[in-house]
Structure formats: structure tokens, C-alpha cells
């Protein structure tokens, strides 16, 4: 007790063992830095706490939920360990979910990037109207997926849609599009590509415009054809842009939800991981634990891609 009391150097006149001069560590915590710390806390804490509560906490909670056999809304749940994961990876439904996810992701990413590059090449010309065209092409990217999905559902309507009308005029019967499990996924993919290709186009356009014109002129002087210039000069120089788009498109494609949900409300050969996870918990099944397991699988996939992206960004920083 006595020791504790005497250690309070400010108030007691008892012999002080430590020198009263402030150490460097103390100096860092003088009045101003203390006030700065308070300001920092006041300014940043609300946002940081919200992020911790609604972004980080769910990641941990999801792991816990994924080990439960638990009906959403029920008061009790039983632990099943890795049972949900075992069920997911062994059930035939799940392998179809993984397959649909793979097809959807590869085709939407590939489609939007390739078409985006073509559009970017069309936009990268000294012509009047390219600024306007760029804005028009980008526009779908900012629009509500629900609204976009509805518009395309109408265009694809087997009886009254524009597409069926076009098919009729050339003497073809219209397929059932959304009601046909084989075609529903294709439809959803087309609409998703339509919505996202403008983003790829605009990013590619920025990449194209950063290519030094001297390089292309030099290649032209060497007699390279325009195709040769494209494959040997433009594409290699665009590779960082391509990689950036590949990663961001993969991430966003794995998270695609609104278009799939509005076009095929209960899934019709269109259940990707995110959509299946939603259906399991909030569709008619109410299987919260199983749904959590699926979302953990999804998160693991996203994590791997994010890691790849971070590695790449790190390397790029070193090289530049």
C-alpha cells in the first residue's frame, strides 16, 4: 500500500526513485497528443464501430452458425459440427449450385470483359460522339438490378416480348425462356453482361488511353498490321487493366443477386452460391445453419481472390 501511495510523485513529497523528467515515451503522451487521441476517437469511432459490428462480427458469427442445425426463428439449435459442410459437398443439389456458380461467373466475367474491350476499342477513336456513347454504355452499371431485370423479363416474354416477336417474323417459335431451366441461366447471364460491360469498357478505355501513342506509331512504321499492333502492343500493355478487371469482376459476379432474384424468384437452374444461401435461409426452407455454411464457402472463395489481388497490388507497387 505504502509503495503505491508514494509512487504518486505529483502529490507526495516522499523520495522519488524515478527521475521526474519525462521519458520520451511520456513526452509522446503530453497534453496535445492526448487531446489528439480523443479527437481521433471521436471522429473515427462511430464508423469503425459500425464496421466492426456489421462487417467483422458477422464473419465470426457465420462460422458459429454454420456448425448448427438451426431453423431460422427457432429458439434452440443443435450443434452438428461440420455436418452442414459435409451435407453441402455431398448433396447433388450442391454440386449443381457449384456448377451454376462456375458457369455464371466464368461466362459473365468473360463476356463482360471481352465485349467491354471491344466497346472500349470503338470508344477509343477520335470521333464526335464518343463521350456521349461512353456515358450511355456505362449507364446500366449504375441502375437498379431489379429494374433492369424487369425490363429484360418483358423483352424475353415468350408471348408478348420483343424477342418472341422478332422470332415470329422470321418464322420461329419462341422458347419459354425464363420458364425453361436450360435457358433461364443463359438469360440471367445475358442481362448481367449487359449491365456490366459498360464498366469494363470504361476501365479498358482508361487503360487504352494510357498507352503511349509513340509505341503504336513505331510499330506501324515497322509495318505491323493493326491486328498485329493490337495483339503485340496493346494487349500486353493492357494486362494490368485486364487483371484488375478480372479480379473485381470475379468478386462482383460471385455476389450477383438482384438480377437472379427478380428474374427467377425461386431459382430455376439459376441457384448460385449467394442465391442458394439466400433461399436456404429466407426461402421456404428456413435452414439458417446450412445457409451460413454456404455463405462461409462463398466467403472462402472471395477471400482467396482478395488475397490474390492483394499480392498482385503489392508486386505492382514494388515494380513501379
Amino acid at each position: 500500500m505504502g509503495r503505491l501511495g508514494t509512487s504518486n510523485a505529483q502529490t507526495s513529497r516522499a523520495p522519488v526513485h524515478r527521475p521526474p523528467i519525462s521519458t520520451p515515451k511520456n513526452r509522446r503522451w503530453n497534453r496535445r497528443t492526448r487531446r489528439d487521441a480523443w479527437v481521433f476517437a471521436a471522429f473515427a469511432a462511430p464508423n469503425v464501430l459500425l464496421i466492426l459490428l456489421f462487417t467483422y462480427r458477422p464473419l465470426v458469427t457465420n462460422f458459429y452458425y454454420s456448425t448448427l442445425d438451426w431453423t431460422l426463428g427457432a429458439a434452440t439449435a443443435t450443434s452438428v459440427g461440420l455436418g452442414n459442410y459435409v451435407e453441402f459437398f455431398t448433396s447433388p443439389d450442391a454440386s449443381s449450385v457449384l456448377g451454376v456458380t462456375a458457369i455464371f461467373t466464368i461466362t459473365t466475367v468473360g463476356g463482360a470483359m471481352m465485349l467491354g474491350l471491344l466497346v472500349a476499342l470503338a470508344l477509343n477513336q477520335r470521333l464526335k460522339g464518343t463521350t456521349f456513347a461512353r456515358a450511355v454504355v456505362f449507364a446500366p452499371y449504375v441502375l437498379s438490378g431489379v429494374g433492369v431485370g424487369l425490363v429484360w423479363l418483358f423483352i424475353f416474354d415468350p408471348t408478348y416480348g420483343v424477342l418472341s416477336w422478332m422470332l415470329r417474323t422470321v418464322g420461329q417459335a419462341s422458347p419459354q425462356w425464363v420458364n425453361d431451366p436450360k435457358l433461364a441461366l443463359l438469360m440471367v447471364i445475358i442481362v448481367y453482361v449487359w449491365k456490366n460491360l459498360g464498366y469494363c469498357a470504361v476501365v479498358y478505355l482508361a487503360g487504352l488511353q494510357s498507352i503511349p501513342t509513340q509505341l503504336l506509331e513505331a510499330a506501324a512504321l515497322d509495318g505491323a498490321s493493326s491486328l498485329r499492333r493490337f495483339t503485340s502492343v496493346v494487349l500486353p500493355l493492357l494486362s494490368p487493366t485486364t487483371f484488375f478487371l478480372l479480379i473485381t469482376s470475379l468478386l462482383s459476379s460471385l455476389q450477383a443477386f438482384d438480377i437472379i432474384r427478380i428474374m427467377t424468384p425461386s431459382g430455376n437452374g439459376t441457384s448460385t452460391l449467394i442465391f442458394d444461401s439466400y433461399l436456404q435461409a429466407f426461402g421456404s426452407y428456413n435452414r439458417a445453419g446450412y445457409s451460413a455454411a454456404i455463405s462461409v464457402v462463398l466467403f472462402a472463395g472471395l477471400l482467396v481472390m482478395t488475397a490474390v489481388q492483394l499480392r498482385f497490388v503489392e508486386r505492382k507497387v514494388h515494380y513501379s
Binding site: 497528443t33 489528439d36 481521433f40 471522429f43 473515427a44 462511430p46 464508423n47 469503425v48 464501430l49 459500425l50 464496421i51 466492426l52 459490428l53 456489421f54 462487417t55 467483422y56 462480427r57 458477422p58 464473419l59 471491344l118 470503338a122 477520335r126 470521333l127 456513347a133 456515358a135 450511355v136 454504355v137 449507364a139 449504375v142 441502375l143 438490378g145 431489379v146 429494374g147 425490363v151 418483358f154 416474354d157 408471348t159 408478348y160 420483343v162 416477336w165 425464363v178 420458364n179 470504361v202 482508361a206 487493366t241 455476389q255 443477386f257 438482384d258 432474384r261 427478380i262 424468384p265 425461386s266 435461409a281 439458417a288 451460413a292 455463405s295 466467403f299 472471395l302 482478395t306 489481388q309
Partner: protein, 293 residues
């Protein structure tokens, strides 16, 4: 004959020169027009259809222009579901949500750049990683939490989980780092505290960046779907995208397309108009990070 210097000049850079006209149209304008039409025509079709009478939509003889444009479809939608209420809810959620998000982003970014604090880097890293966590993965735990707090079918239940903003903070931090420290130091010498420096210097010179963050936030709040879909089941509390789901027949039978197109117009048009007016800022915000060094 003396060589005409004008003719000797290479003309390949002039797209509308006589020799290049055909090439310009085939290689330049046709692809451009095609890309523009592919995007534009479906949206035009939606707008025109929303003004058509039911008999003109449910027909196998398509016509482009409505014979007598009317807003009947909008009225029908409003009498089937609380359409005006959906719109109002969307406006409320978007305005409150994006205002708070922008304020939080400004404060956090200011603190990360201009306030001395020992764990700044750790906190920035925490925010950076959160940027990469998809909101969809946290839907179920957040639903359980918000439902437990009685937040189902409430405005705060819709808004609160999305409020923490990693994107806005990141974007504004990058911008604040480019501000010259000298102006802040001189303000400090004049005795300005953090509050004064924030509002008198940093915010006024950062208006374009803050506007970009605000626009991108407004766009994403307005279009947000999965969370409002889960957290609301009462029609009076649904936002527009969720409410529109109510208009769709889940069995895939014949839809009331006029009504649905009216709904699509109402959810797409506001963002389309904002985008048309301010697309430069929105594009730069959404493609942030894409420019390679």
C-alpha cells in the same frame, strides 16, 4: 506539275476526309452506334411500354409508339401496391443513409490523415479489409441481430447495418493525402483546432471528392436490394426495389407488363437522371483504383 503540299500531307488522321469516310463509318461509327443502341433501346422500350394501354402491350403485333400515351399503368401499379409509399421509403432511406455515410466518411478520413494517433495504420488496414468483405456474406448474422433488436420493418433497421463506410473513407483518405500540408499548418499557427480545420479548410477544398462519394453512395443506397428485402416484409416499409418484387407473379404466369414497366421506370429513372447530369463524377468514383500507374 508542281506537287501540291496539301495533297502530300498524310490524311489518315482525318476521319471525314473523302478517302476515309467509308472506313470511318464502317469501323468507327457502326460499332459505336451498335453499342449505344444495345444499351439504349431496351430502356427506351421500357419507357414507351409504360405509357401504353393494356391492349397495346398484351398483343402479338408490336408497335413502338403508344397510340395515346397515358399514365394509367402508373395508377394501376399504385392501386395494386403502395407504390407512392415505396418511393417515399426509398427516398427516406437513401437520403438519411447517404448523408450519415458521407459525414462518417469525412470524419474518419480526416482523423486518419490529419490527427496523430498511434494505431492509425492498424485502423486503416481494418477499414481497407472491410472494403473487400461482401455485404451479402453478413446478411444472416445481421438479420438475427437486427431482428433481435426489434429492427424488422423499421427505417433504422434498414439503414443501420449499412452505415459503416469503408469505401467513402478510403476514397476521401486518398484525396486528403494530396492536400498540401502547408495550408493546414498555417491554420494551426493561427490557433485553429481540428474542428475548425475540418470545416473551414479541408471540407471546402474537397467538395468535388465529397460530391463523388455522395453520388456513388446515393446510387448504391437507392439500388440496395438484398438487405431491405430480408429486413422488411410489411408493404408499408418496403423500398422500391423490394416493392417491385411484389408486383411480379412468382409463378411466372402472364405478367401485367404495363404496370411492371411503370415500376421499372420509377426505380430506374431517378438514378438515370442523376447519372446523365453528373456522370463524370460517378464514373470516376466507381472506377476508382482502376487507373494503373
Amino acid at each position: 506539275m508542281s506537287t501540291n503540299t496539301v495533297e502530300a500531307t498524310p490524311r489518315r488522321d482525318r476521319p471525314f476526309s473523302w478517302q476515309n469516310l467509308g472506313k470511318t463509318i464502317a469501323g468507327g461509327y457502326v460499332p459505336l452506334l451498335l453499342a449505344t443502341m444495345v444499351v439504349f433501346v431496351p430502356l427506351l422500350w421500357m419507357m414507351l411500354s409504360s405509357l401504353k394501354a393494356p391492349g397495346e402491350i398484351v398483343t402479338t403485333n408490336l408497335t413502338w409508339l403508344p397510340k395515346s400515351p397515358s399514365f394509367q399503368n402508373y395508377a394501376d401499379a399504385a392501386s395494386t401496391v403502395p407504390f407512392a409509399r415505396f418511393f417515399l421509403n426509398s427516398v427516406i432511406v437513401t437520403v438519411i443513409g447517404s448523408t450519415i455515410k458521407c459525414v462518417l466518411a469525412v470524419f474518419t478520413a480526416y482523423a486518419l490523415v490529419f490527427v496523430r494517433f498511434p494505431f492509425k495504420r492498424v485502423i486503416f488496414l481494418l477499414i481497407l479489409v472491410a472494403l473487400m468483405v461482401p455485404p451479402q456474406v453478413s446478411v444472416l448474422p445481421n438479420y438475427v441481430l437486427i431482428a433481435g433488436m426489434g429492427g424488422l420493418n423499421t427505417y433504422w433497421g434498414i439503414i443501420l447495418p449499412g452505415l459503416g463506410t469503408a469505401f467513402g473513407t478510403f476514397l476521401l483518405r486518398q484525396h486528403f493525402l494530396t492536400l498540401p500540408p502547408a495550408i493546414l499548418e498555417s491554420a494551426e499557427i493561427d490557433g485553429a483546432g481540428h474542428w475548425r480545420k475540418l470545416w473551414k479548410i479541408v471540407v471546402p477544398v474537397s467538395v468535388p471528392s465529397i460530391a463523388t462519394v455522395a453520388l456513388v453512395t446515393i446510387v448504391s443506397e437507392w439500388n440496395e436490394y438484398i438487405w431491405p428485402l430480408i429486413v422488411t416484409d410489411h408493404p408499408d416499409m418496403m423500398t422500391l426495389p423490394v416493392g417491385l418484387t411484389q408486383l411480379v407473379n412468382s409463378d411466372g404466369s402472364t405478367q401485367n407488363w404495363g404496370m411492371l414497366m411503370a415500376g421499372a421506370v420509377i426505380v430506374l429513372l431517378p438514378i438515370l437522371l442523376i447519372f446523365a447530369a453528373l456522370q463524370r463524377y460517378i464514373v470516376s468514383g466507381l472506377t476508382q483504383g482502376s487507373v494503373t500507374g
